[in-house]
């Protein structure tokens, strides 16, 4: 049976035909699925979603249904396989479009047109359809043909140039931040378009780039450039001192400490015993920052990062340990908040998947298992779309549903 509607999330009843792959599209549709939308992920065994090939794998064994990376990016979706290079496959895709409220894609520019799923055709199938296109640089403009990865978005948005130390070159963050921010913007765009459609009855084609959301979230830095303020400033903050990371006991262990104002400083001075009138004001702390940081580092160096962070926080000074992946995975705050959701998956077994970072007072969030490759073909094509089982068998045999 199809899973449409068994869990009444706040987006229950919303239907998504998801042709997107890898990260930038699937993360948006994961959000919608976690909130109760029915998301049907369209893939092809002939051209696997690269996410399915990304480690880590269950028991370290590479398999298209065993990637943990793919799993956390695709929770709660149903999976079908359609060969979009086959005319019969395209006809099946059109049936999904007719069923859907929203179609999502992140192919190269022009691909949807070439396979017969252009915006005009989608509208002719369903006049109020919402089409979401996610790409590196957007669907218009001189760079609209650019095919790239997260690094391209970091490079073209200024994010890489804004990252780093003032005495060194740009820094490329070791994860694709564009694949984080763009899907969130895509989710906002879809929800706003749905609200617009609720009021007006009109659909629309949404064009979300990876570059523009990265510029949005650094608006303050881009403004600082034009104000004559150095934007690449490592861990410094012009409004706070101390503001940085201080060494703690053990190799490569650090604690982040932020003194927001003079009152914070008085508390920290009392705890550390650093008592010097030079440091009483922000201006003084900035002027003597080198001395102050050295004194503070000498005090933190012998302390456990977690205990130090708890001690300072309890006293009212913002401080947190610089956590690694292990620390984060076992963080009690996440446990209490229900950040991880237990799922059962035929290949991965019983495991935990991160869920949305929020909760509703009157609605549940259900994080379901990710789809097996083509695992819901019969449920979707026969049970949901009402196709003849024999016809589906034939399309499967000819490769149209592969």
């Amino acid at each position: 049976m199809t899973r449409e509607g068994p869990h009444k999330g706040p987006l229950s009843g919303l239907r998504i035909a998801d042709f997107s792959w890898v990260g930038a599209g699937p993360r948006a549709t994961k959000d919608l699925a976690d909130y109760g939308a029915t998301v049907i992920k369209v893939e092809s065994a002939r051209r696997l979603d690269l996410g399915r090939l990304s480690p880590p794998f269950k028991d370290g064994k590479r398999h298209h249904d065993a990637s943990a990376f793919f799993a956390i990016t695709n929770t709660g979706k149903q999976g079908v396989t359609i060969n979009l290079n086959d005319p019969s496959g395209i006809e099946m895709a059109k049936k999904l479009v007719a069923w859907a409220d929203v179609v999502v894609e992140n192919f190269g520019k022009g691909y949807m047109d070439r396979i017969g799923l252009s915006w005009e055709i989608l509208k002719s199938i369903k006049p109020d359809i919402i089409l979401l296109s996610v790409s590196v640089a957007g669907r218009t403009g001189p760079l609209s043909d650019l095919r790239g990865y997260g690094n391209s978005a970091a490079a073209l948005s200024g994010f890489a140039a804004l990252s780093g130390w003032p005495d060194r070159g740009p820094h490329m963050a070791p994860f694709a931040y564009g694949d984080v921010v763009a899907p969130m913007m895509a989710t906002v765009a879809v929800l706003a378009a749905l609200e617009h459609r609720r009021v007006t009855g009109e659909g629309q084609h949404l064009d979300v780039s990876q570059v523009e959301p990265m510029m949005l979230v650094t608006s303050d830095c881009l403004a600082d450039v034009q104000r004559g303020i150095e934007p690449r400033r490592g861990n410094d903050d012009p409004r706070m001192e101390p503001h940085g990371l201080f060494p703690c006991r053990g190799p490569d262990q650090w604690c982040a400490i932020a003194v927001r104002d003079d009152a914070d400083w008085q508390v920290l001075a009392g705890l550390t015993g650093i008592d010097n009138s030079r440091f009483a004001t922000l201006q003084g702390r900035k002027a003597h920052a080198g001395d102050l940081r050295a004194l503070l580092a000498a005090w933190t160096r012998t302390q456990d990062k977690h205990r130090l962070a708890d001690r300072l926080s309890t006293a009212g000074v913002p401080a947190e340990a610089v956590n690694d992946g292990r620390d984060v995975f076992s963080d009690a705050e996440l446990e209490r908040a229900g950040h991880y959701h237990r799922i059962h998956h035929d290949r991965l077994g019983d495991c935990e998947m991160p869920g949305p970072p929020l909760r509703f007072s009157d609605a549940a969030i259900y994080v379901g298992p990710p789809p097996l490759l083509g695992g819901d073909n019969r449920a979707v094509f026969v049970d949901l779309l009402g196709m003849d089982p024999a016809a589906i068998d034939e399309l499967t045999a000819t490769g149209a549903l592969a």
Binding site: P10, P56, A68, I72, T140, G141, A155, L156, G158, A161, L162, S163, G164, R168, H171, M172, P174, V181, M184, M185, V188, A189, A192, E195, E202, Q204, H205, D207, P213, M215, L216, V217, S219, A223, V225, Q226, R227, N235, D237, L245, D252, W254, A258, E320, A321, V322, N323, R326, V328, F329, E333, L334, R336, A337, P354, P356, P357, L358, R359, F360
Partner: protein
């Protein structure tokens, strides 16, 4: 798109972006200036009507509002008196009451541990990214609750910390599934047994490119180097039948010396143009001024003028959140 919605933005620095985004989508946003004064960068308060708390008739505002954005209790306000309201509480932590800044949230999320160079302390991302992630999640929560609203609204609690943890999509998973803890690699991309450089100095700045397992991209770059007689040992590499990620580090270093020497003779514009033409997977790293002056961004109307009260000048700031075929709707 959201011209029919009314928003009250009672947040501080954490959340001001959410109000701005809703204003960009057409909603009427009233910003309650925080007690003690506004410390938020004015770029996040564009297109809002700002009122001092003492001047605001809060009950009247809230009775007309669809969405309230806040970081904590509003003095004298019982949210239960406004049953249709979508009440979004954006806090540093969902379950813990402790002080936080953007940097401390990022530290706890694990994102700092992997950022920066191995010979220095961990490095934060530019700007206030935990705050930004929390703010965008707050809008997702608000609009999701709005879609579910029938006769009554509901509360939404959003954790900025958890929003940052979600952005750290590799490290907790690598620990859970592979027992591995990552570290700082500078600008090396480490996949498999070796690391490859991602950031290169060229004649007039920086570009991003890497030796990766993409034979088409690698062949295109080597062909370009051969045209200048600078491909050396890269000539004749059978990209289809090697796994770059598992090559010895010394081999990669030798190859990267050749690439670095070639890049040093070329400009960003030349390399980017060649990459677009031949599919080399290279991008010029734009400095902020390049971004502000980009023909691509200009063609998309990505920046708009803003009378900046902080500098007293008109500056350019990011404008539309995304594009739509219905520009009147956006």
């Amino acid at each position: 798109m959201l011209n029919h919605l009314t928003i009250i933005d009672a947040t501080g620095e954490l959340g001001a972006l959410a109000g701005y985004m809703l204003a960009q989508l057409g909603a009427a946003v009233t910003r309650l200036v925080p007690a003690g004064g506004e410390t938020t960068d004015p770029v996040w308060n564009r297109d809002k009507r700002c009122v001092a708390p003492n001047d605001a008739d809060l009950p009247a505002l809230l009775s007309k509002a669809d969405i309230l954005l806040r970081n904590g209790p509003l003095p004298g306000v019982d949210i239960a008196d406004y049953p249709r309201l979508i009440d979004v509480l954006l806090t540093p932590f969902a379950c813990t009451d402790r002080p936080a800044t953007d940097m401390t949230l990022m530290a706890r999320s694990g994102l700092l541990h992997i950022g920066g160079d191995p010979d220095r302390e961990p490095l934060r991302l530019p700007g206030q990214q935990a705050y930004a992630l929390g703010a965008i999640q707050a809008i997702i929560g608000a609009l999701t609750a709005l879609r579910a609203r029938k006769d009554k609204g509901q509360g939404v609690i959003v954790s900025a910390y958890q929003s940052a943890v979600l952005a750290n999509y590799r490290e907790p998973v690598m620990w859970d599934w592979a027992g591995k803890v990552g570290g700082r690699q500078g600008n090396l991309l480490v996949r498999g047994k070796s690391g490859v450089n991602q950031v290169w100095q060229v004649a007039d700045g920086w570009v991003t490119w890497a030796l990766v397992d993409n034979p088409g991209m690698m062949r295109a770059m080597v062909a370009l180097m051969q045209a200048d007689g600078m491909a050396g040992a890269l000539t004749g590499v059978d990209w289809e039948n090697i796994l770059v990620a598992d090559l010895p580090q010394e081999t990669l270093k030798d190859w990267e010396k050749l690439v670095g020497a070639f890049f040093a003779t070329k400009t960003r514009a030349f390399l980017a143009e060649q990459s677009n033409r031949h599919g080399m997977g290279l991008s010029a790293i734009d400095e902020p001024q390049d971004v502000l002056n980009s023909a691509h961004h200009a063609a998309r109307g990505a920046f708009v003028p803003f009378n900046d009260p902080a500098s007293g000048r008109t500056i350019r700031v990011p404008g539309p959140l995304f594009r739509s075929n219905r520009e009147d709707a956006r």
